[in-house]
């Protein structure tokens, strides 16, 4: 059963990923990405990471993608006329870099399955909010506090960049 669910979700994930990259309309791309993230959340559930599956949907699909869609709508972009520009060399190099990266990573994964044969039975409890929260506020406290600074800085910074003063409208009309 698990195998069928996995195959279904994997096909959905890859399909929506490709759909995002190959779509001319930016809104459609964003919606494909939402689909992609929801199906990845499903795979998290298969891996017994319950809490993160939930967070994935809330934060990524919920907050981040809504922000994306909001900005896309705000900018009111046209469809791109041609997905592929004339420079051929760029695509050839992109293709090669992609193939090299993929084969490197796949090659490096050889033998992992023998070392790690199955999902550890501890994961029944380790993926819950309780288990994560327990270490988050003790062992990983430093990183947690640094994240607080990061988020504060991001909010203030976004305001600084996006803020638009009428008085000094240099290049914009």
């Amino acid at each position: 059963m698990d195998t069928f669910i996995f195959i279904f979700l994997a096909v959905l994930t890859i399909g929506s990923g490709l759909g995002m990259v190959l779509n001319r309309n930016t809104v459609n791309s964003a919606l494909f990405l939402v689909l992609n993230m929801v199906s990845i959340a499903g795979i998290y559930l298969l891996l017994q990471a319950q809490f993160l599956a939930l967070i994935q949907i809330l934060v990524y699909a919920g907050a981040i993608m809504v922000l994306f869609l909001f900005v896309i709508m705000l900018l009111n972009l046209d469809d791109e006329r041609s997905l592929f520009s004339k420079v051929r060399a760029k695509y050839i190099s992109a293709f090669f870099l992609g193939v090299v990266t993929l084969s490197l990573i796949l090659y490096s994964l050889e033998g992992v399955a023998d070392l790690l044969p199955e999902i550890s039975p501890e994961m029944e409890t380790a993926g819950t909010v309780e288990a994560l929260g327990d270490v988050l506020y003790t062992d990983y406290l430093f990183a947690f506090e640094m994240t607080a600074i990061l988020l504060t800085a991001a909010v203030v910074g976004a305001l600084m960049i996006a803020q638009y003063k009428k008085s000094n409208n240099g290049a914009s009309e």
Binding site: V21, K90, L97, L136, G157
Partner: protein
């Protein structure tokens, strides 16, 4: 029972789709979405290793990576708004004032 290989291979494929997308697309917003796809792929790798190791550290790292992705999204979209105001376009091939 699904072997860990499958999860990792799936994540490698997603990462590569994102990577190629960043390199070939010209729309800054789509490029940024491709970056988000790459980060998602990495999160998948981390969670699969975490589950098969039976160790919670990987999931903690995913938690932080989500926070970073959110912060990056906010800043990135603000920058894209600023560039749109100046250029009335988000096409990165038109952003070539500075070269060499």
């Amino acid at each position: 029972m699904i072997e860990i290989d499958w999860y990792l291979a799936l994540s490698a494929v997603l990462f590569t789709i994102g990577l190629v997308g960043v390199l070939i697309r010209r729309n800054a917003i789509v490029i940024f979405m491709c970056v988000e796809l790459m980060l998602n792929a990495v999160n998948l790798t981390l969670i699969s290793f975490s589950s098969y190791h039976g160790d919670v550290t990987g999931q903690i790292l995913v938690f932080f990576s989500l926070a970073v992705a959110a912060a990056e999204a906010v800043i990135g979209l603000a920058i894209i708004l600023a560039i749109f105001r100046n250029n009335l376009s988000v096409d990165i091939t038109k952003v070539n004032l500075l070269r060499w």
